[in-house]
Symmetry: C2
Subunit: 458 residues, 2 copies
């Protein structure tokens, strides 16, 4: 086997890279929290310094209506060399419930071979190994085999509300032949995989008001509408007895799997006990007639991510609540369209809510589902890179998550590759988020191999 192009670099630079990772993870760049807007900017500036230090040029913060994105490029591989755009994000999820973290979320530690911190795997770690891979090639070879651009977003964890507008405005600067997204995962360290699809997302906050004020439950209870009960009824009515979403037309555009995709899905190892243990749950549920891997990867879903109503303080308050609400995320698959599904949800809601109850629906973002062509030459380059590092060709999966990848491919008109090293139990969006350091170093090596392979496509 040919030695890997960045083996020596990774070994020699190890301590510095770990230090950089820890420093970046100490910045609480929570994009959902307006109070952390300065930290999101600080994180962007940190990333910009990283890119400049690695040898990138034209490094700049791209301002948006929200948190800034970071851009940098190295464009000296020549006009015949392909241009590659790497996508990552530097913002992170909120950290509550804080009490469940075994160490503070923004005081990163490395324990038992894993780095624990908010943003470790999602997505600072995965962005860092891409930047360091480029730095390594530039340092060791004095140049890159491709023209390379980075776009590191600052609003991914709030649904990328300004990212498509950014892509349109910056289409020329970001133009590329191939896009590499570094924000996904693989089945296990022993079973590498790459995603050929990401679920989309359309999300809403639904606020209900059933009366002018909370009423005394003794005096009025039993005859006035209760907003908390209405919210509960709506959430319950969202699924039928077979686990299917009851929104009209929800499944109309769901594209059946192609035979090769179905074959790849069927070839994925699935160990129910391991799956349960990684999820930390006692049982599975969901749409009848589909396996857990199908439910999370190829089927659309409706998840209630938050529920609220009435009194939430200590002890009791004897009221009939006048207000309640919920937040809902509808995960979409090809060829569902966010705007159609959003409209269908609105119609469903209007039909469900009793007249006289005020409903306020706020959009919390929309991302279309994404697909990558399996037969593109760039995909062969990715397969080779992963096989060299993990010793085995990747399986093709569909990723459950959503991101701005669909907009990247559609607006920039280029195929999207997914090089991601996260593992199913990395506690994405949850307390004690982690990155397995061995996967991080393999990611760095694979990113180097991928640039070499893509350079060979010229």
């Amino acid at each position: 086997m040919t030695p890997l192009v960045l083996s020596t670099f990774a070994d020699q630079e190890r301590d510095r890279i770990v230090t950089v990772l820890m420093d970046w993870l100490r910045i609480p760049s929570i994009s959902a929290d307006p109070a952390q807007a300065p930290a999101v900017r600080q994180s962007a500036e940190f990333c910009a310094r990283l890119l400049a230090g690695a040898g990138f040029e034209h490094v700049a913060l791209i301002e948006t209506a929200g948190g800034p994105a970071v851009y940098g490029d190295w464009l000296h591989a020549g006009p015949d060399a392909p241009t590659v755009l790497v996508y990552g994000h530097h913002d992170v999820q909120p950290v509550d419930p804080l009490g469940e973290w075994t160490s503070p979320p923004f005081e990163p530690v490395i324990v038992d071979g894993e780095c624990r911190a908010r943003g470790a795997i999602d997505d600072k770690g995965q962005t860092l190994y891409q930047i360091e891979a480029a730095r390594g090639l530039l340092a060791e070879r004095g140049g890159l085999p491709v023209n390379l651009k980075f776009i590191v977003e600052g609003e991914e964890e709030v649904g990328s509300p300004n990212f498509e507008a950014l892509l349109v405005t910056e289409a020329e600067r970001l133009a590329a032949d191939v896009i590499v997204v570094s924000d996904t995962g693989m089945i296990s360290p022993e079973v590498p995989s790459t995603s050929v699809s990401l679920r989309g997302l359309v999300a809403f906050d639904v606020d209900l008001r059933s009366g002018r004020i909370d009423l005394h439950s003794g005096q009025w209870g039993g005859t006035v509408p209760n907003a908390a009960r209405i919210a509960a009824r709506l959430v319950t009515a969202l699924h039928d007895g077979t686990g299917r979403v009851t929104i009209p037309r929800f499944y109309d555009r769901v594209r059946p799997l192609s035979p090769p995709e179905q074959a790849s899905l069927d070839a994925q190892p699935y160990d129910e006990a391991l799956f349960l243990s990684q999820a930390g749950v006692a049982y599975l549920e969901g749409e009848e007639g589909y396996s857990p891997l199908e439910r999370t990867g190829v089927r659309p879903t409706a998840e209630v991510v938050g529920l609220r109503g009435g009194y939430a303080g200590p002890g009791m308050k004897t009221i009939v609540p006048a207000t309640a609400g919920f937040k809902i995320a509808l995960r979409l698959v090809p060829d569902q369209r966010p705007e159609e599904i959003g409209q269908a949800f609105g119609e469903w809601l209007a039909a469900q809510v009793p007249p006289g109850v005020e409903v306020t629906v706020t959009s919390l973002g929309a991302v279309a589902p994404a697909l990558t062509p399996i037969d593109h030459p760039a995909m062969a380059a990715l397969v080779t890179a992963i096989e060299r590092v993990w010793g085995r060709a990747p399986l093709f999966t569909r990723e459950g998550g959503s991101g701005p990848e669909e907009a990247l491919g559609r607006v920039l008109g280029a195929p999207v590759l997914f090089l991601g090293v996260s593992l199913p139990d990395d506690r994405f969006h949850a307390p004690n988020e982690r990155m397995v350091m061995d996967q991080f170093w393999k990611g760095l090596l694979a990113a180097g191999e991928l640039l070499v392979e893509l350079g060979a496509l010229r």
Copy 2:
């Protein structure tokens, strides 16, 4: 018509009494909030000074495991005179949502003939007119027609968790021939009424955990249990399609109304438009086959007073929540028993929750329903007192609320009378709680008349 015994006193002392009311209402004695424990004590001390200033003796704070109660007596009416125990409470409800108050809850104002503040009607105002009525008789006559005791509780708004124990311990000190509760209301200023029953209450907090941690909704959504959805399903399953509570054996002991009670209920004026406007809701719902007055007064109910789960912050967090919960108040009517209903609820819950989901049920209090005998001579005294002040004999109602009144009557072995002046739209437990000042002054006059009438029973 004979002049009312306290007309002159009320007129002359008006400004002082208003000042005392405002001072008491400025104390934030929220018993549900541990941080306000000092305020609850301050309120008890305020009440003790009031009683002492009015001429009561043996004034003392009675300590409990929670907030202190206040005691005082005047026992010089002679051994032949009846002994009367007046009950009120000096603690108040929490104030959220704070943003909906038009003036701060603990900065009382009198506007348009109504006093607006937390605790104005529930129950500082109603306790104050009883104390002032006794002060007036003592000042004008040098004595009272009855032996009079006061017990002013400090934990009523959290379900009186220590009150029955207090009654048992203090049974001798509190012994009385008649109990007068001053914490209820009447149908309208034009239609005075008195309650002959109070619904009981058994309340719980139910906490659910469906997994170890919140999971990424993209990665896991569609196949793992969602605690918020489970909470919603439970809340929804609590009622069937006809509005009946689905807890087994829930209705088994509900006693049918006696013919005179049914006749009195049927004679109550009911104006649906007014009822809706007072409640501030657009429509009514509830158990099929019963009128709104029956639903709130004579039927047991299940109200969800709080609902929680997952992410409640701004914007979106793409999780499948691992934890959720709700608070529930089951209102009970004669002859339902709190312990039986609590047990039936626990069994219902165990049957509803999927295996593998952790359930933690915390009791938030239990109060049995109460009934007052209509034919007791003390009831005739109350009817006379109310008729003198409001110009019309009271209708007999059942009150929807719950309180420690059942324990008072049962432990002390005395009939319980309800002299209460609150109105249906006084915003009990809600923002902008108010007391109509005209009702307050009438309450003071009626309390004086009632003492005179009860004194005549010797």
